[in-house]
């Protein structure tokens, strides 16, 4: 028996012609904040639905808290908290009614779960008589999280809790997840925002139904296989097009105010790449460029790991 909080082995799931999950395997440890990071269509929601016993896998097996997702579904359901990506609340019930409904489904009361949800629920408690429909996006999110927690689950599954939420609210939400993790709760959370990977203990990068890599977020960039430099200069769009034509260009993409240039010669000193590229840019009429060697971030790594067909720039 595995003592992992979640153990997934070779899980596959197909919908008609679409292979939603292909040979997915990973383990999340007890007390870990584990992230599934990837764009829409990566298979994150399908994986959550398998793990929360709402979908049967076509292949492979998975356990949650040591319980099999197919055989032990009722035991699992009592012990997990699940916040689906789409709005999970009843819009025509009030804030308090939603919370007591979710408590009663699990045979408990708001009072019994109160100390656990208090840090989150207190922020919306003054609106307890308001219909859930009339809440702002951030408030709905806090209520949905409270509802997923009210029965004191041993593990929490959060499917894209921050999608469509502004950068400040997203950061506050992650602060709350860290507080919950301190209490010993295992949390599996998905997100399409690559920067949020940094807030997880470990992340699985997902794309097209497959896991590309699993690592602590700080280590993902260190596996980047090629020399990488950041370029800044005027007339960015033309500079970008020009750098793509450099003799050893592997990939060139905009990153905020910079361009990231990956050279196709593995093992070459990035300083050398920078000086070579500076000469090239000057030759193309870009005199004022600034080029520095940099460490790869999550997004650099994700793009490098993405399967080839999508990799052709338009």
């Amino acid at each position: 028996m595995s003592n992992a909080a979640v153990a997934v082995r070779g899980v596959g799931k197909r919908f008609g012609e679409t292979e939603a999950l292909t040979d997915v395997s990973f383990e999340a440890r007890h007390g870990e904040l584990f992230g599934l990071v990837g764009p829409d269509g990566a298979g994150k929601t399908t994986l959550f639905r398998v793990l929360t016993t709402f979908l049967l896998p076509d292949a492979g097996s998975a356990t949650v808290l040591g319980l099999d997702v197919v055989r032990d579904l009722w035991a699992i359901r009592a012990r997990v908290g699940y916040m689906p990506g789409r709005f999970s609340l009843y819009g025509d019930l009030t804030v308090a009614e939603n919370l007591s409904f979710f408590a009663s489904v699990f045979g408990t009361t708001i009072e019994e779960g109160y100390d656990l949800i208090a840090p989150i629920y207190r922020q919306i408690e003054s609106f307890s008589g308001r219909r859930a429909d009339a809440l702002s996006g951030g408030m709905k999110q806090k209520l949905a999280l409270s509802c997923a927690l009210v029965h004191r689950p041993d593990i929490l599954f959060l499917d894209e809790p921050t999608t469509g939420v502004d950068a400040v609210s997203r950061s506050e939400f992650w602060d709350q997840l860290h507080t919950l993790r301190e209490s010993g709760l295992t949390i599996v959370v998905s997100t399409p925002y690559m920067d949020e990977a940094m807030r997880c203990d470990r992340v699985a990068l997902m794309q097209g139904g497959r896991i590309l890599e699993i690592d602590p977020p700080g280590e993902i960039g260190s596996r980047y296989p090629l020399p990488l430099v950041a370029v800044t200069g005027a007339d960015r769009y033309r500079l970008l097009l020009s750098l793509r034509k450099a003799p050893h260009a592997h990939a060139v993409y905009p990153f905020g105010s910079e361009l990231h240039y990956t050279d196709n010669r593995a093992g070459l000193d990035p300083g050398e790449v920078a000086s070579e590229l500076r000469d090239y840019a000057r030759g193309q009429g870009f005199g004022d460029v600034e080029i520095t060697a940099i460490a790869a971030g999550i997004e650099d790594s994700f793009m490098e790991l993405m399967p080839a067909p999508v990799q052709r720039a338009s």
Binding site: G138, A167, V168, V310
Partner: protein, 239 residues
């Protein structure tokens, strides 16, 4: 002096006692990529709905492509394109059927539609599949091209890259640059702060008001922050 593509003066919208948009003023130049940023609930969507002629302002005025957003909504609709993450194309129609539908709505002739359809399929590398079967990234690129089908002067993009993979997100911005090079004015909202750095100028809206506006470089030095992300965190939630 050329006339601005978008000219907004003291534009205000109240809902009962709540002021969603509070006397905002700005100009956007033709061919400019303008990033319209703000936290959820700051008033961005209300402002955009007024600019595309779907919602009447309580006071103030705005002109888009030279037309008044209150009195000339019909002319404005011919001059603007619009796409959002939520509503763009009909999923149960094919790519060509969608193009023909929107071409017809915008009053293009059969010949123009045929010409632009085949050019579009080719440049996006698409076959004529059901739109519902396309991956999100391709759908969003197609939606953008369809929003440009009638060659509008101004295109409004409301969170066009939400949930899209990082490569497609960047390819999408290259389509934006290409449109801007061709003279189209692009008015865009996003929650990805790195994308804010790709805009010629940006504004940040807080509680219905525009609290700062300028090029990303100007704003970073004015507020003494390393990135637009840091600026957003500093401004979007006044303590």
């Amino acid at each position: 002096m050329t006339e601005p593509a978008i000219a907004v003066r003291d534009l205000t919208r109240r809902f009962g006692g709540f002021t969603a948009v509070d006397s905002i003023s700005f100009d956007v130049a033709p061919g400019e990529v303008f990033g319209f940023l703000g936290a959820n609930g700051a008033g961005k969507t209300t402002a955009i709905r007024m600019l595309i002629g779907l919602l009447a302002p309580t006071s103030g005025e705005a002109r888009v492509a030279g037309f008044d957003v209150v009195k000339q909504t019909e002319q404005i609709r011919h001059q603007i394109g619009y796409m959002s993450q939520r509503f763009s194309l009909y999923e149960d129609l094919t790519v060509l059927e969608n193009i023909a539908l929107y071409g017809g709505i915008y009053g293009l002739g059969a010949e123009q539609i045929a010409e632009r359809s085949s050019a579009m399929l080719q440049s996006l590398g698409l076959a004529d599949d059901l739109v519902g079967r396309l991956p999100l990234g391709r759908k969003q690129k197609l939606a953008f091209s369809v929003a440009l089908l009638h060659e509008p002067a101004v295109v409004f993009l409301d969170e066009p890259t939400g949930g899209v993979d990082p490569i497609t997100r960047r390819q999408f911005w290259e389509l934006i640059y290409a449109a801007a090079e061709g003279g189209t004015t692009v008015f865009v909202t996003t929650h990805y702060m790195d994308e804010a750095e790709y805009c010629d100028r940006i504004s940040i809206m807080v509680d219905g008001r525009i609290v700062t506006l300028g090029t990303p470089q100007e704003l970073k030095s004015k507020w003494d922050v390393p990135t637009i992300d840091a600026l957003f965190v500093k401004l979007a939630r006044p303590a």
